[in-house]
């Protein structure tokens, strides 16, 4: 009874907004708490250079302040349940922002530090006879391209044929289910175990001390095949059954149906999957460290001798800095920048292919 009189005496302009926070309140509170924390840290930092300004702590504590404020304000106006809801909204949004911070920091530092040595010399010379500064990564880039190309040539036919088996011939039988399960498990093989495997195979057949780019390609294939199988299988399953049935009805043999109807329909998706698989293995370091090893000179022969690759180059410059650590670290950053650019280009190209060459389903 007392509540009824209380609400009756309070003048309310809009019955829908009663007991709710006005629309922009949360944004205002967020801006307010960020400004307050920014000022607090500005005052703490007032007698120090601007570079010392702790922007991460300011933003973080600002977000914490906002979460507390919105909870308190909403509990007063809207009640406990809505307050919890608003609090969780703040926390969940913060989780997303927190995940972005390392990505931004990583891309920013790689770009800034990598540009110092991102010059012509870096792309035109190897590390042969280079002590201290100078030198480049041409041998590593060539090695990466050769090894990745070989791994692709090995993995794509096997992966594609396996996915064709799974979709067109397997009929979800025992073998098909076993292959699906083990492909899933194979996706989780640690990359270094793949390297050890290639090493073990080549030691048994070629004796200890053998090392070549081809060995590295075998290791990468072990990592690449399951990715290719998974993505192509998904794409083949997307092909409408009506297309296959129409082809069968015209008397076309099954294998020709697959080659002439199923594959052309799904080729865009398969290409995307292959490019993403390449992007994944091109950055692998550990297996190549154990198999292709490292060298300072150019090696065009994939069948014999150590072969440098870009990820191993980055690791090597970082781990063995030599007489001029600054120069080595700059080379490592430049190598990292090159690597990220290659991966990003592959990713973007894959999205492009998926978007523009997808079959027109007409629906």
């Amino acid at each position: 009874m007392s509540t009824a009189t209380a609400t009756a005496t309070r003048p309310s302009t809009n019955s829908f907004s009663n007991g709710r926070l006005p629309k922009g309140t949360s944004w205002l509170l967020l801006a307010g708490s960020l400004i307050v924390m920014g000022l607090v840290f500005f005052l703490l930092n007032i007698d120090q250079p601007v570079a010392n300004y702790n922007i991460v702590a300011a933003v973080f504590l600002g977000a914490v302040l906002y979460a507390i404020l919105i909870f308190v304000v909403a509990s007063i106006v809207e009640g406990r349940r809505n307050a919890t809801d608003r609090f969780i909204t703040a926390v969940v949004s913060a989780a997303f922002i927190v995940a972005l911070l390392p990505l931004i920091s990583l891309l920013f530092t790689v770009l800034v530090n990598g540009l110092a040595r991102f010059d012509i010399e870096f792309f035109s010379s190897s590390m042969r006879n280079v002590i201290g500064d100078g030198g480049g990564a041409l041998h590593a880039i060539v090695g990466t391209l050769l090894i990745t190309l070989t791994a692709t040539i090995i993995s794509v036919p096997i992966g594609l044929m396996t996915s064709i088996y799974l979709v067109e011939y397997g009929n979800s039988g025992k073998l098909a289910r076993a292959i699906t399960f083990f492909v899933d498990v194979m996706t989780g093989i640690p990359s270094i175990v793949a390297g050890l495997f290639a090493y073990a195979v080549f030691v048994i057949f070629f004796g200890a001390g053998y090392s070549s780019g081809f060995e590295g390609a075998i290791a990468l294939s072990v990592l690449m095949i399951p990715v290719v199988v998974r993505s192509s299988e998904e794409m083949l399953r997307l092909v409408p059954n009506e297309l296959r049935e129409a082809s069968f009805a015209l008397g076309v043999p099954k294998w020709l149906t697959i080659v002439k109807v199923v594959l052309p329909t799904s080729i865009a998706g398969i290409t995307t999957g292959v490019m993403l698989a390449i992007a994944r293995v091109i950055g692998e370091t550990a297996p190549l460290l154990l198999t292709a090893g490292y060298t300072q000179s150019m090696n065009w022969n994939i069948w014999d001798g150590n072969m440098m690759t870009l990820p191993v180059f980055v690791y090597n410059q970082y781990a063995n800095q030599g007489t001029n650590p600054d120069a080595a670290i700059s080379r490592a950053w430049a190598g990292a920048l090159t690597l990220i650019l290659i991966v990003m280009v592959l990713n973007l190209a894959a999205r492009f292919v998926a978007k523009f060459f997808a079959p027109k389903t007409g629906r």
């Binding site: 390392p102 044929m161 292959i179 899933d184 640690p190 073990a200 080659v259 970082y318």
Partner: protein, 320 residues
């Protein structure tokens, strides 16, 4: 009448397609490719076993890496470090990944969701060696002051006790990098299962007057529990096998300790292999391969269990 004529020709009606040579060759190749995959997996196991046998047959004194220790004494600290760093990474990544997945699936505007998901996937595209470089040169220096703070004010907790590392290259930093690296895969799987929640359940909860968080608590999270567990397991498998980030970030000493902030840190199996392998010879190599086999078995088990949970869920969730 009609039923009898229908039933009559049904028995011999199974027409076998003509087996043309092209068909036989093509299906044979497809089958062969599938079998190659199983053979490769078997070969991985067999070759690793063959190559690791010398580590057990030769006396421990002659092994350049064992230096008189037994295999278990050598491997145990490595296994401990591997599991410890991965669990730390998982503890940090799991709440964050679930939060991000919820944000993308239930909080962000529908139109922005795809772009936000793509941004998180970008993290997965960054090569591990770049993460290692960034972790060793940028993150370690950045977090070191926080470690000093943690040690000063929370040093009474055993985890944060001990002498703080001056470089910041501790097991906690390595676990942080690992957490960032497993974030995308965990987010992607969680997002997928959250989106599979039956819309009717969500709408029913909202219609009963639940707030968005109550709807998520009542409808989304219970439905997605199995998916979240398997996402965590897959992330664990990824973290267990990650090599470069740990190798480049951690300054190792191969001890068994729970202290997170000191300069003496446990190392992991993959990091140990990457560091020792280039200089190893003879039975030392066999020993490293044997530790790799241990890692393989552990990750295989973790992944198999995770996949089993996913598949079981797919069979029984009739909701979608």
């Amino acid at each position: 009448m009609a039923t009898t004529t229908d039933a009559g020709p049904e028995a011999p009606a199974k027409i076998h397609a003509k087996r043309r040579p092209g068909d036989i060759v093509f299906s044979g190749t497809a089958l062969g490719a599938g079998i190659i995959i199983l053979a490769v997996l078997a070969a991985v196991t067999i070759f690793l076993v063959i190559e690791s046998i010398p580590a057990f047959t030769t006396p421990a004194d002659e092994n350049p890496l064992l230096k008189g220790k037994t295999f278990l004494e050598y491997t145990w600290p490595l296994v401990f470090g591997t599991i410890w760093s991965s669990i730390l990474a998982l503890v940090m990544a799991a709440p964050l990944a679930i939060g991000i997945a919820l944000f993308i699936s239930h909080y962000a505007p529908r139109r922005a969701a795809a772009v936000l998901g793509y941004i998180i996937d970008l993290l997965a595209a960054v090569p591990s060696v770049v993460f290692g470089l960034w972790g060793g040169l940028v993150l370690a220096g950045f977090v070191q002051p926080f470690y000093v703070w943690l040690n000063t004010y929370l040093g009474w907790i055993p985890l944060f006790s001990g002498q703080v590392s001056a470089t910041g290259r501790t097991i906690l930093t390595a676990a942080l990098v690992l957490a960032i690296m497993v974030l995308p895969i965990m987010t992607a799987i969680c997002r997928e299962v959250f989106l599979q929640t039956p819309v009717l359940h969500e709408e029913a909860a909202l219609a009963l007057g639940a707030t968005r968080w109550e709807m998520i608590k009542m409808a989304v999270l219970p439905f997605a529990r199995g998916g979240m567990v398997s996402a965590a397991m897959l992330a664990l498998g990824r973290a267990l096998g990650e090599t470069m980030a740990v190798t480049m970030v951690l300054s190792v000493s191969g001890v068994v300790t729970f202290e997170l902030l000191t300069a003496t840190n446990p190392t992991t199996i993959p990091a140990n292999i990457a560091l020792q392998f280039p200089e190893a010879y003879g039975t030392g190599v066999s020993l490293l391969i044997a530790t790799g086999l241990v890692l393989f078995v552990v990750t295989f088990a973790v992944n198999a269990i995770a996949r089993w949970i996913v598949n079981r869920r797919a069979e029984f969730s009739g909701a979608n």
